[in-house]
């Protein structure tokens, strides 16, 4: 189980590439540099246009440009756009009298964890990640 889908993962990387750029950058350039499938990335960028994170321009010299500040884009925002948020637990008995106590007890715990994760995802922004880039390339033990 992955916390982030490829959608979110790629979107994060695309925004990191776009942050601070003043010119429009073609999707193709990003997809090549970051190793993201081109058409797949285009779909993601379009969604970000719809959500007001990014602006696009057609034709040559066209491409996409970030129109929000990197420190205002939370990881949670992207998770909500591309994964419809995090939902660790679902109530199996909505609209019914709750007759399943074990499930509900478990659900309470899962909701608690879900909140922790959501808080963490709120505290990470695109800018946070960019700042980390300067600190180290690849953390020890990961490769």
């Amino acid at each position: 189980m992955k916390l982030l889908t490829k959608h979110t993962d790629y979107a994060v990387r695309a925004l990191m590439a776009l942050a601070g750029q003043k010119l429009y950058i073609p999707a193709k350039e990003i997809s090549e540099k970051q190793g993201i499938p081109h058409q797949f990335l285009r779909g993601l960028l379009q969604q970000m246009v719809h959500h007001g994170l990014v602006e696009s321009k057609l034709g040559p010299t066209g491409g996409v440009k970030m129109i929000v500040e990197a420190d205002t884009v939370k990881l949670l925002d992207l998770v909500e756009i591309f994964q419809e948020g995090i939902e660790f637990a679902e109530c199996l008995f909505r609209d019914k009298v709750c007759q399943n106590r074990p499930t509900c007890v478990l659900r309470t715990e899962l909701l608690r964890i879900e909140k922790i994760v959501n808080d963490e995802l709120s505290n990470i922004t695109i800018q946070t990640l960019i700042d980390r880039l300067d600190e180290n390339i690849c953390p020890k033990g990961l490769i």
Copy 2:
């Protein structure tokens, strides 16, 4: 995205039903009481037998019996059995020189969150959940 699959969810509920019982209990009885598909539950119970959480006995008067203490079975144990653990992030560049810094930075954050979740799942045992049953039936606002 759910943190627990049905496998884990059902397994938890089955263990809660088995905890403290001295006699063998047929899978069918549990599946009916807890509303878990019979054959599906049988598969889960068999896995728990293989992992030494549960003991089985054939024939009439047979069934399954828990052979570990409820306070020693962590939610994380079940997640590891039925979901092969939690893995929020995967390195896309194993065995290669790490050329993808944004992904690695993101991965570091995800690993940190993953650890938090694993710790939380370690702190919840079957006994924890059973204890909660006595406190309240269904938390306010959930239904």
